[in-house]
Symmetry: C2
Subunit: 192 residues, 2 copies
DNA sequence: CAGGAGCGCTAGCGGTGCTAGAGTTGTCGG
DNA sequence: CCGACAACTCTAGCACCGCTAGCGCTCCTG
């Protein structure tokens, strides 16, 4: 029975190798450079091996997305707990979110922009994703007012997502990013 | 000399034909269905003819984007001038924007999401694009408060863009769209 | 040690955006 | 009126993509 165990372990290791190779390649050269041929070359196996682990390229990207989302959740948590002032915490979380998108665009895209079939906004959503959303939610909790917290979080999140995607797509000038972010945070804070 | 004039006219007509074919095909089946082969078949010319009009597929998409943006500007203008109440006008503009994205996703994507090299946020930006932005801007003018109107517009626009892209990407549940939109409009309205 | 199952490989399918070069068409000067 | 030339379009093909059928090797099992 230990023979089979070893094989399964090796399989799992190879799967991890594929995911990290995809992630590394994407972060280095963008997702358009991640082809199944290059990926297979990286992990030193032939193309069809990829398909014995994942249903297709999308599934590989989805796996990378879940991993990356955990990183985002860590960043957001650190930002939220960096200060006791609720308003500053919200600003910090917003800045951390935008910073993540700026520093790791490939990771951000695969989580939030590219078409991968991950379940969002349902109980089946991957835990890291729910964790990241939860950080946003907790940061907004003091500002909830009469609104529903879940919907408020989704709306604030949309604002952040719009800011970073439009900026990265060249639709918004880079230099005023901080001021736009300040406006967003301000408008989502309760009046004193 | 009139021979050359006729040729140029015919060329211009064919160029329009290509653009409308691309737009029609994209709206009917999505941009992933718009290939240079299918496009060439639609206009009843061979592939290389497309490249005598446009530098590449991206340039064709950019042309469609400019056209589509004019439509968006019309919708936004109608919404903004549909009421005298500033707050209702802002809500109407937001709803019209989201509605456009929902009704014509292919058009919306090529304007705001896909990578096409259109100049944004500069004087060289296409007029229809500036017109659409201007409508948003005018709708926000009564709510500007102490903020810069341009930046406020960009930020509100980001909120709308985030809402529609996250929803269309399956990241936000569809059913609560109206309530999220209401929250966004509310948070971007001055307190009474 | 023979047989067989599992697995990774080579090769290839149908598609993509794009382009070189051949061939045809239509215009103009002699 | 005709032949040469210029403009233009088409066929064919390149290098790449995601994905898969089926052969052949390796290694475990009876």
């Amino acid at each position: 029975m230990s023979i089979q165990a070893r094989r399964e372990r090796e399989r799992a290791e190879r799967e991890r190798l594929i995911i990290t190779a995809a992630r590394t390649l994407a972060e280095a050269e963008g997702w358009e450079a991640v082809t199944t041929r290059r990926l297979a070359e990286q992990v030193e196996y032939s193309q069809p091996v990829l398909y014995s682990h994942f249903k297709g390229k999308d599934a590989i990207m989805a796996a990378v997305a879940v991993e990356g989302c955990a990183d985002l959740a860590v960043d957001l948590h650190a930002a939220r707990t960096s200060t006791d002032d609720p308003r500053q915490a919200l600003a910090a979380v917003g800045a951390a979110y935008a910073d993540f998108a700026e520093r790791r665009p490939a990771l951000y895209d695969v989580i939030f922009s590219l078409a991968v079939d991950l379940p969002f906004a349902t109980p089946e959503a991957p835990a890291p994703l729910q964790a990241a959303f939860g950080e946003l939610s907790q940061a907004l909790e003091p500002q909830v007012g009469d609104d529903d917290l879940g919907l408020l979080t989704e709306t604030f999140w949309s604002g952040l997502h719009g800011l970073v995607t439009l900026m990265r797509g060249g639709r918004l000038p880079r230099e005023a990013h901080d001021r736009r972010l300040a406006i967003l945070v301000d408008r989502f804070s309760q009046r004193p």
